[in-house]
Symmetry: C2
Subunit: 156 residues, 2 copies
DNA sequence: ACGTTACACGTTACAAGATAACATTTCAGC
DNA sequence: GCTGAAATGTTATCTTGTAACGTGTAACGT
């Protein structure tokens, strides 16, 4: 179900979309109406969105859109770093910090289901160095931590 | 396809299984023939194994086993930390370092597909501290990094 | 203007991954 | 032997993701 609450203010939302426009222009890619609509849907979500829920939300009177529609749009957005896939949830989120192409860190609340995109400072560097000692060259790192968010901790 | 090569020597394999026996005894859980067989299958794999490939490998003349069979065994093994799920691959591996229940780090080679379980030292601690500053209490962390393993780097 | 190419998007069909619900077996403890 | 809990078997279904091919459209060189 695609909810009514919003994770971002209207101002933040338009900032994110404007930022996406700028990035696409810079890269010579086009943020078509469909892609833009999917990005907006993602931004409006209070938390990670499932592909088939997005499909339903995209749909018209003619019924929900077909799977390739949404997966292609998501692939595009992810290629530019405008959206991320949360592997442990099979769900997608709009990038909250500005087009991370290589590595992402999410803190996922077990209680409310929200996913907070996070900048871990040195954690990534340390991991890269540790892996290098082992001969492994990291290209991309995905970190998904689960636990309790600040709000849910207060509530409990 | 479940291959013929082995990621572990026979000695390592029996050590891992013996370790699993010990852990189950300690926890009052039982490593039934089925669960043990699935663990052995995982250990024999050269890399992450897909659930349906394990099913086929489990199968008898009566055809492949049914999905719940393998998913239940995997759930058990994962609950004890004897197996891990690699989210970005929808695949499973035997634990290589001894029953990690809370957090795992994998280095996944884009070229050969192998997944190396890894101990990242301070990376996890740093992440936990950084998240705590944000009010988030981490319970479990999953890290999946992709890149080139030492072998594939040499080959290239 | 015309064909060509590249790209986005539509549509159908299917593959792959996972679980719900209920039946059956097994075996320890009474 | 009976009973209850845990493990396993079985059927059906659900969710998630892709392959393959067709259609529309705009830019490009001729
Ligand atoms: Zn991001
Ligand atoms: Zn929460
Ligand atoms: Zn482990
Ligand atoms: Zn490799």
């Amino acid at each position: 179900m695609i909810g009514m609450t919003h994770a971002h203010t209207a101002m933040e939302r338009s900032r994110l979309v404007a930022e996406a426009e700028r990035l696409c222009a810079e890269r010579g890619e086009s943020l078509t109406p469909l892609r833009r609509r999917v990005l907006e849907l993602l931004i409006e979500q209070p938390g990670p969105a499932k592909a088939y829920d997005l499909l339903a939300a995209l749909g018209s009177e003619a019924g929900p859109a077909k799977p390739p529609t949404i997966y292609r749009a998501l692939e595009f957005l992810m290629r530019l770093g405008l959206a991320h896939r949360i592997e442990s949830l099979n769900a997608f989120v709009a990038c909250d910090v500005g087009a991370c192409a290589r590595s992402t860190i999410f803190l996922i609340c077990d209680n409310c289901g929200r996913a907070e995109e996070f900048d871990a400072g040195h954690a990534l560097v340390d991991l890269g160095e540790a892996a290098a000692k082992d001969g492994f060259e990291i290209r991309r790192t995905m970190i998904e931590a689960t636990g309790l968010c600040a709000d849910c901790r207060k509530a409990a």
